[in-house]
Symmetry: C2
Subunit: 483 residues, 2 copies
Amino acid sequence: MSEKNGGESFHMTPGEFRRWGREVIDWIADYQETIERYPVLSEVKPNEIRDALPKKPPARGESFATILEDVKRVVLPGITHWQSPNFFAYFPANASGPSILGDLLSAGLGVQGMLWATSPACTELETLVLDWLTEMLALPERFLSTGSGGGVIQDTASSATLCALLSGRERATGFSVNEDGCTGRLVAYASNQAHSSVEKAAKIAGLGRRNLRLIEVDENFAMRPDDLDARIQEDIDAGLVPCFVCATVGTTSSNAMDPLRDIGQVAAKYGVWFHVDAAMSGTAALCEEYRYIHDGLELADSYCFNPHKWMFTNFDCDCFYVADRAALIQTLSILPEYLRNEATKTGAVIDYRDWHVPLGRRFRALKLWFVIRHYGVEGLSHHVRRHVALAQEFASWVSESGDFDLAAPVPLNLVCFRHRGGDEFNEALMNRLNSSGKLFLTHTKLDGKLTLRFCVGQTMTDRTHVSRAWDLIREEGARHLSG
Amino acid sequence: MSEKNGGESFHMTPGEFRRWGREVIDWIADYQETIERYPVLSEVKPNEIRDALPKKPPARGESFATILEDVKRVVLPGITHWQSPNFFAYFPANASGPSILGDLLSAGLGVQGMLWATSPACTELETLVLDWLTEMLALPERFLSTGSGGGVIQDTASSATLCALLSGRERATGFSVNEDGCTGRLVAYASNQAHSSVEKAAKIAGLGRRNLRLIEVDENFAMRPDDLDARIQEDIDAGLVPCFVCATVGTTSSNAMDPLRDIGQVAAKYGVWFHVDAAMSGTAALCEEYRYIHDGLELADSYCFNPHKWMFTNFDCDCFYVADRAALIQTLSILPEYLRNEATKTGAVIDYRDWHVPLGRRFRALKLWFVIRHYGVEGLSHHVRRHVALAQEFASWVSESGDFDLAAPVPLNLVCFRHRGGDEFNEALMNRLNSSGKLFLTHTKLDGKLTLRFCVGQTMTDRTHVSRAWDLIREEGARHLSG
């Protein structure tokens, strides 16, 4: 603690910040170098972390050395290592050096970008980088900010889906729900394989779970446009108001690809807001050969994908695009006196506070900009391509194994498979693999059967990790069968 | 770029991360040391930042040195310096060394804490630190996780308010809106001085703006409980369903303190969910002498305050508490197959995904824990007390000035005042002060008159800054008057 203005300051001085900042940087670099030594899935029991820490807050400040010591002693054992190259669970939340440093700079600048005026760079860099990404992923031009669309960083796809649904709700009712409230006649649509966030959004927005129609899927778990069409027609005949269709590019369960063009045509026929959720898989469009996943996307009113899943950018970072930004802004706009300012009055700037639920916002474009500039399109597409190739190779091993079967097509980097031993066997196998600490994978249910999911997307995962994982899975399967 | 497994890796190696990490740490320390040299409010014109950057994304990766160079050349002029001690605008978004380093560690670990199992430490540290804070702020015991309540970190108070309103909506309807949708009969209440996020939440949740009753305030801009009571009774008589009352501890316009006890009694009388928004001012309760602001808080169903405003913790960090966590969880819970796991099944753990809108979440408790441990209760309360004293001193200068008047009581660290020259004069004065680059303050309207707001809360603000600001304001006022 340093003396300042004759009194105790308690603040960390810039000098101390340099010293401890280096320690933390080194700590992270050490962590990156040794991450494979830790069990991927944390082995602690409930309350173990909490019980190892003081019950009472500290009355007096402590040294930074003590704090870092506790991170190592108490926190680290309670970490499930999402950045381990042996992490194959869920969808990844991958990160990278340039992203961490971009995030650090954002924390250091400490700006709050609710309005253009509260840090023009925070807004303009975000708009620019999101425009860049439309080119990098060959997204439709209607999402460009230079036209009548535009992109914004949201925390997660859940929030993006909510904003899309709200915009659809308002557009379908002439913006009258915002004014007078829901009337109980609004209906939304997604496949029965869509992410749980669609149901959550339907509840939050006041539509209700029962007014979210779960559309049938085909044998590949992709939405059936004919069923969508029939359900919308049925609802209209019943006097209801369809307001939102959500299609998925790469479902969470099995990476199924909904047919965007056919769904988009149905949505257009009825004038319903069409949102496309490509949270993980959208990133694949960095590579020309996978861009077919977005075929028909020009029919969408909104779209999102998460660089924080598969584009080496720290959580949180979801890129959300709309074709008609006026509809989104009209849906979420609020302008109290204390936020009025000259720049907003001119109408020449974007105030991102009207593009999402929160008012305040961090400078998240920095980390995304750092990642894109560090890797270039070349580096990013290289790693995405490699992850897909590794998943395909893993899938081929499964197919040829005799003991395991693929449970769904493998369009990109998620392999859904199961041992022939049945549900209980597969669950036990998964638990044994995860408790080995050597890898982490998760499950889903497909066709009513427990199915293992193996997603290749962590930044540092390479062939060694995938092939070692397969060896473990096969050995554990064989041992378990004979045991 | 390093060779790896025989191919190009493109990744930043741990060695490179050490090198560039130190550069960024030093960059931030330099920034801290020189921040007062920059104009507080950015002087760039719309599109100036964007136009200074390449229109196209880079095909190939660039050196980190080039990226950092562009931060200095392009980004920095577009920053409005929220971390400048001469920042007196809005409410602060203050930060500190330990917070930045906690955030850095969180980025380095890169965990996603949607479930207890996906990083037990991320969940348990958050629960513990939020319990600590109830003690530090002397909040009611009903908010403790060790009882039937509990706290969670949200991004902002806007999101906390939304979650509170949703919980109220569901409790008032037997959780039927979640199921069947809104019926158009639900009503919410807040004072006409409440934050715009209450209106935003009423829109999002499907209640509609017209079903948010803006309750009258007294001469101090505090909600009138008698008007609240009358309006609720009126709505019940009209067959409507009151579901949510929001009181504010420290309104954004004028830092008005709604009388929690009286409002809570009205809410209790009608069985309506009672939420208390103490976004900035809650932090003052670190000091015993300001704890009166929370008198009656034990009647609240939920409460939030933002350590990212006035507790030296980087944005975003809102602490949201509920007395009955079961109601919140039932409101927001979703459990798809792919998130099921052993720990969740036992019921012995918290899965924070059901406590807010997004599914995924960062390890934000780390920065909060770092701040509390670095400063201790002693250090935190020292600075809060000092900020309040400086604001009070500033208010006394205003009172004694002859040219300026206070426009509202000054309970804590926000001073609302205006020159006697009228609205146009005050607006021109504000614009001239802000374009001087020497300080940044903003305005509101009180009693229909344009009012300047001067909030003392930035981490490094001390007496020198406040007294220099007053000199500038007085001089500029005098010059402007004579000019």
